[in-house]
């Protein structure tokens, strides 16, 4: 499985949002998108999942132009956990998670037991089985995030996009989510692309990091290569200290307090 972005440009009302983005993603890797707010992270995610059409350039999924793939088929290959979740309050958790099976349910059918089994597995993975009968209005933010992830996982897509999944979570839930993503990568060979703010966690969990500055691809590569003083100062405008975590050989990024 290969997902390619070729020469992607995006402008909106004469404002250049993305220029000349070229990226390649393959199975079984976690890629972190980092950059300041407004550097284009969400736009890239929206372009990949088809919500946003680029001004020029193409996206190829296994060498097929993504525009030629129907909406339904696209949702079998690419699943998304959006940044803003506005779930209607009077549905139950199980109702929402089950919606993830929609791409596999034919027009005149409602779903099969198999779909229910898959839903169960997904809910077990995200630890929300006990919540299945609860109404959306009755669960917390962290649980909501997990529901959202479960819904995306239910699509069983080889590509999983997450737009700032950890921004609104407490530390415990951040780790839970990231551990889950790691498991998905290792056990199920999923290609995970997520945008993050915490550079330390990014270095711990991501195989590759893509750094964006003002809509331009500033740098991409392994965490050790990308997370350097110069790069971080260049892209974020702050000075940092970088040390090595001896336990798992990842980087710890510490901002310098003025």
């Amino acid at each position: 499985m290969v997902l390619e972005l070729k020469n992607i440009n995006l402008s909106y009302h004469d404002k250049l949002i993305l220029s000349d983005i070229n990226l390649k993603f393959s199975k079984g890797e976690i890629v972190g998108l980092v950059g300041q707010n407004g550097s284009g992270k969400t736009s890239i995610i929206n372009i990949i999942n088809g919500i946003q059409k680029p001004s020029s350039g193409i996206i190829l999924y296994n060498d097929k132009n993504i525009n030629r793939i129907s909406i339904k088929n696209r949702s079998k290959f690419i699943s998304v956990v959006p940044q803003k979740i506005n779930f209607p309050l009077d549905y139950r958790v199980i109702d929402l998670v089950f919606m993830g099976r929609n791409p596999y349910i034919d027009f005149f059918h409602i779903g099969t037991n198999k779909d229910l089994e898959i839903t169960y597995d997904v809910m077990k993975m995200t630890n929300i089985v006990e919540l299945s009968e609860k109404l959306i209005s009755d669960i917390s933010g962290g649980e909501l995030q997990r529901v959202s992830i479960a819904m995306a996982l239910n699509q069983r897509a080889p590509v999983l996009l997450l737009d700032e999944p950890t921004s609104n979570l407490d530390l415990v839930h951040q780790i839970l989510v990231l551990n889950l993503l790691k498991k998905l990568k290792t056990n199920h060979n999923i290609c995970v692309l997520l945008s993050m703010h915490d550079l330390t966690l990014a270095s711990k969990y991501c195989d590759r990091i893509v750094m964006l500055k003002n809509g331009v691809l500033f740098s991409e590569g392994s965490p050790e290569d990308i997370l350097t003083h110069q790069n971080i100062e260049n892209v974020f405008g702050i000075r940092v200290r970088i040390t090595n975590d001896p336990l798992d050989n990842s980087l710890i990024v510490i901002p310098e307090v003025m």
């Binding site: 919500i51 199980i94 229910l116």
Partner: protein, 357 residues
């Protein structure tokens, strides 16, 4: 251990796939509808004793000629078409009310939102006020005019909000409001400048089933049955649409098709219903609310339940409209507005308690 949990999970959630209880409720409501229709046929401004009624129906089924032909006419040519038309129109209003509420993701949406009502009113007023005769051969031009007016207005709103291959719902709403306003003004102008004809126009505007006939029922059914089947088959997508258009696309729903299809189906059904009886308000708003309070927001069940509840409500309203004054009649729309308003307020107050419990 895990497997047992899974089995329990699947068993208990089979409800999601196919909620037995809700289906039972649908069947129950259908029976209730039949019973209420039956009772409605028995009551009217002319007092027909129940025994006579049963005899007359019995004779009709057997094909006997009934000596009491007046009652025969009243039951078969006036009451039965009337109850049927009220039921069918109520059905259409409940259906399109709940569909619009799902589509626009707003519980205040009603079937007349995008210009259906004002267009129909304008069409009907033009026919009544102008020298065009009411009948062209066998065709009754009044419902035809109303229908054309209605569809033209919706099409106009649709075209305005159809930009670069996608239908923007907020634009549709606003265009509908603007068009309604203009149509309303023209209708009022026509009414002002032709005083002697005001009464029939006002009567039509408030909606009434006075001149209901079997042909009307059949014509309305022609619009409603395909619309209903269409909307029902899309109802699971309406559920997913509640997450937002973008999210629905991400889950594999072709949102453009769904939006366009639902708007056309619901508007056609409403236009068809409204053309024959005028504007009857509140039913399309109240029926979905009642259903939502009791059975929740799963649109696969909300839509059929709202339709049946709408039919029941309108049959009851029509019963009141034609019996409360004795020999003369009230327009049905007056009854629905008069009772619907306070009822709606009651629901709103109760709803608040429900929400935050």
């Amino acid at each position: 251990m895990i497997n047992i949990n899974k089995k329990i999970f699947i068993q208990s959630n089979k409800n999601y796939l196919y909620d037995k209880f809700k289906v039972y409720w649908i069947i129950f409501l259908c029976l209730l509808l039949l019973i209420i229709s039956g009772i409605s046929v028995c009551i009217g401004s002319v007092n027909i004793p129940v025994l006579d009624l049963i005899n007359i129906i019995y004779d009709k089924i057997l094909g006997n000629i009934n000596p009491n032909s007046n009652f025969d006419v009243i039951i078969f040519k006036i009451r039965i078409p009337r109850v049927l038309l009220a039921g069918v129109v109520g059905f259409a209003l409940g259906m399109s009310g709940s569909t619009y509420q799902g589509l626009f993701r707003n519980n205040l949406a009603d079937p007349y939102l995008i210009g259906v009502a004002s267009g129909a009113a304008l069409g009907a007023t033009i026919i009544i006020v102008s020298p065009i005769p009411l009948y062209f051969g066998v065709i009754n031009l009044l419902p035809l005019g109303a229908f054309l007016g209605s569809i033209l207005c919706v099409m106009l709103a649709y075209l305005i909000s159809y930009q670069s291959d996608s239908l923007t719902l907020t634009t549709l709403l606003l265009a509908g409001i603007a068009i309604s306003s203009v149509c309303g003004a023209i209708t009022a102008l026509l009414m002002l400048s032709s005083d002697p004809n005001i009464r029939p126009v006002l009567s039509w505007l408030f909606g009434s089933f006075t001149s209901a006939r079997m042909e009307h029922v059949l014509l309305v059914l022609i619009y409603i049955i395909p619309s209903f089947l269409f909307i029902l088959s899309f109802s699971k997508f309406i559920n997913i649409l509640q997450l937002g258009e973008d999210h629905a696309i991400l889950l594999g729903v072709n949102v453009e098709y769904v939006k366009k299809g639902l708007i056309i189906a619901a508007s056609l059904a409403t236009a068809g219903a409204v053309s024959f009886c005028g504007l009857i308000g509140f039913v399309g708003l109240i029926a979905p609310h009642m259903v939502r309070l009791i059975w929740g927001t799963d649109y696969r069940y909300l839509i059929p339940l709202s339709s049946i509840v709408g039919a029941i409500l309108l049959i009851l309203a029509d019963l009141v409209a034609r019996t409360i004054l004795g020999a003369s009649e009230l327009p049905v729309g007056l009854v629905t507005a008069f009772c619907g308003g306070p009822f709606f307020l009651f629901i709103l107050r109760y709803q608040r308690k429900y929400r935050f419990k």
